[in-house]
């Protein structure tokens, strides 16, 4: 038992952080953008981010879930836009997803209204229908873009009718895909929780009122301390869940992932809300990037099972 990243895993994490910082620096968040940066996507593909867990015989990198959550935490920290989780999960089924040549989206047909993220940019669309996974041509799925998406970096379209597709997988593979989707999203949420904590700590250390940095006030300190507590517990849960997915005989992967998604969602959203508050009026200003993180958190909360769903699953496992 050793629940810490190995030196190789730390190296991978640094490499992903470096590429995020150079290819999607924080300054870009404030810029208007609705279509995806294909160049960035291909670079993420070249790095092996999408094919990370695909076996080497299938042209993948052959790494585990532990590596994937470390990488996805970095993508979350940088708030890299796009269907990251969907494209990663699509690699076994859709040629071209692994290299970043093709963008894949996923929708769960149980959702109503049926909102497709990044519809206009997608090359492939996967449909989750109970325990079946189908593949559809996004161009053949009539969908109307909403005018004012909540997350400026995640355009969404409303699908007119439940689309049809050809089956590509079913049963345990689909259950595993749902679980992996929840866990990778949880990793993105941990990254968000960390990013907004960094921003809040930096701001309250600099901003002065009453003749001292506002970070010297205890109410502010305790709000920041609670952010760190939420972050570290969520991160621990995500690491444990990933390690359990990689060694399923050592625990219960479903339960571990439910706990991870529940806590990471809470960490991302509550930390983002706290970060807005700690920025004062600046927190409500578009030019300060904290709101992008909050909006993405709210989006992730609705994906791969909301808090209530995972709480119920955890209770049922007792």
């Amino acid at each position: 038992m050793h629940l810490l990243p190995t030196p190789e895993q730390r190296e991978l994490r640094s490499a992903v952080r470096a590429i995020c910082e150079s290819e999607f620096p924080a300054e870009r968040l404030g810029a208007e953008a609705s279509t995806l940066d294909r160049g960035l996507w291909r670079r993420l593909g070249e790095m092996g981010l999408f094919a990370l867990r695909l076996p080497e015989v299938d042209g993948g990198v052959g790494l585990g879930t532990a590596e994937a959550v470390l990488a996805f935490e970095e993508l979350g920290r940088a708030l890299v836009p796009g269907p990251l989780v969907a494209t990663h999960l699509a690699t076994p089924y859709l040629p071209g997803a692994a290299t970043g040549e093709r963008l894949a989206g996923i929708v769960d047909l149980r959702e109503a209204p049926l909102l497709v993220e990044h519809h206009a940019d997608l090359d492939d669309l996967l449909l989750l229908d109970g325990d079946r996974l189908l593949r559809a041509d996004p161009a053949a799925v009539p969908a109307r873009p909403v005018e004012r998406p909540l997350d400026p970096w995640t355009p969404v379209s409303v699908a007119a009718a439940p689309p049809d597709g050809e089956p590509v997988a079913q049963g345990p593979a689909v259950a595993a895909l749902r679980r992996d989707g929840a866990l990778l999203t949880a990793a993105l949420q941990v990254g968000i929780a960390a990013a907004v904590l960094d921003r809040a700590v930096r701001y309250v250390g600099e901003r002065e009122q009453f003749g001292r940095p506002v970070g010297a006030f205890q109410a502010v300190k305790h709000a920041a301390a609670d952010m760190l507590v939420r972050l570290e517990l969520a991160r621990s849960a995500v690491w444990a869940a990933a390690a359990t997915c990689d060694a399923p005989e050592a625990g219960d992967p479903d339960r571990a992932v439910a706990a991870a998604k529940l806590l990471a969602g809470e960490a991302a959203t509550k930390n983002s809300l706290a970060a807005v508050q700690l920025h004062g009026g600046m927190g409500f200003a578009w030019e300060v990037d904290v709101h992008f993180f909050l909006k993405r958190s709210w989006l992730h909360d609705t994906c791969w099972g909301d808090a209530d769903t995972h709480a119920e699953a955890l209770a049922a496992a007792l």
Partner: protein, 393 residues
């Protein structure tokens, strides 16, 4: 990142489990909580049993009578003993977790020789004399004076909240040796025999009705200079060493116990009938319990992280303070949920039917001390903000 235990670790777990299966059934029933003399005997006998089997100071270096086992083995031992409901041994706590490790790290050869073996064997019971009426969260402001007189220090002052001091042989005591120095710079850490003339104890009742702690009055108590651990006026640093031992795995038993209680909570909810069906039919309650389970799973994961850091030879980074804060607050939430389920059966600490309410009600009260003792939650948040996040003082 690996969550699976190695074959050796599994073998160690099996060995511990088999041993517990042998010794626990032969144990006499635990004495009532208020009977401290009997509890001392019970706790120290259990420590002796552990020691004889080689588990007494598992994580202590072999040169001090321990086994120098890995932090992972220590975790396994704590997990297995708690799951098997082995005695907790609160009377041994200060000796094993505070005084012993401090003497091992900072003491003289004579002090090590004198105390470490007896602590491990359960022959010596220790208490901690840090807090005073005027010095709690602001521990460094303590005023109990120690004046040098020949080969002795002469102690005068008052300590408070000194747990199980009524049955202790020694006290790790923090005293002021230089009243003119800045408050952190004039303190000294001493080993005080509890039977020294001038030590007077007045038991204090807790909100549970028990006398777990006491006020300790010191009137001209002579403590040999040879009992000083660390240099004169360096007591604050020595005390910080002491407190750092409390972190790491010190609360693992509490965590494992809580995880078992979450399962009991779910069982109780499935059993208690309500107007329609059982309490478990309430989706709101189920979700709260699910939430609680997630919180404990994460604390367990954090424990694994901390233990892995300790095994890699580094001091737990973010782990210890975050863990203490969250663990103690979640314990309150857990026991409040029990109370909600029990309703008016929660009005007594005596068992009704087969509800097990007595224990839950007692624990509901005891939980309130956990966010106070060992540094209040506010103080933990101060530490996180100032030391981990670097916010200005």
């Amino acid at each position: 990142m690996d969550i699976a235990y190695t074959a050796e670790e599994d073998a160690f777990r099996a060995e511990v489990r088999a041993w517990l299966g042998e010794v626990l059934p032969a144990l006499p029933p635990a004495p009532p909580p208020h009977d401290w003399p009997a509890r001392r005997v019970f706790d120290t006998t259990w420590q002796r049993t552990l020691y004889d089997a080689g588990y007494g100071g598992l994580d202590w270096p072999a040169e001090y009578g321990g086994r120098g086992a890995s932090p992972v083995q220590q975790l396994i031992l704590l997990e297995e003993t708690e799951r098997a409901r082995a005695p907790y041994g609160v009377a041994n706590y200060v000796g094993l977790k505070h005084a012993g490790p401090t003497i091992a790290a900072e003491g003289t050869p004579a002090q090590k020789e004198r105390h470490l073996g007896p602590i491990l064997r359960g022959d010596e019971v220790w208490c901690q004399g840090f807090s005073e009426p005027g010095a709690g969260s602001d521990l460094a402001s303590l005023r109990t004076r120690a004046v040098r007189d020949g080969d002795d220090y002469v102690l005068t002052g008052q300590k408070i909240w000194t747990s199980h001091s009524l049955v202790a042989d020694f006290c790790e005591i923090l005293v002021r040796t230089d009243p003119d120095a800045p408050k952190h710079k004039g303190l000294t850490w001493l080993i005080m025999p509890m039977d020294a003339p001038g030590v007077r104890l007045r038991p204090l009742r807790t909100i549970m009705g028990s006398t777990d702690f006491a006020e300790m009055f010191l009137d001209g108590v002579r403590v040999p200079v040879a009992n000083r651990v660390g240099a004169e006026n360096d007591g604050w640093r020595v005390a910080m060493v002491t407190l750092s031992f409390e972190r790491g795995t010190a609360f693992t038993g509490e965590l494992v116990n809580s995880m078992v209680l979450v399962e009991e909570l779910a069982r109780l909810a499935r059993k208690l009938t309500r107007r329609s069906g059982t309490a478990w039919n309430d989706a709101g309650l189920r979700r709260e319990i699910g939430h609680l389970a997630a919180g404990y799973d994460a604390l367990w994961a954090l424990t694994l992280r901390n233990v892995s850091e300790a095994a890699a030879g580094s001091v737990p980074g973010v782990g210890a303070t975050v863990f203490k804060l969250r663990l103690t607050e979640l314990r309150t939430t857990l026991l409040e949920l029990f109370a909600r389920l029990l309703g008016r059966a929660g009005l007594t600490m005596s068992d009704l039917d087969d509800l097990g309410n007595g224990y839950y009600v007692e624990e509901r009260l005891r939980a309130l001390s956990l966010t106070i003792a060992g540094g209040t939650s506010n103080i933990q948040r101060n530490i996180i903000a100032e030391r981990l996040l670097g916010l200005p003082k």
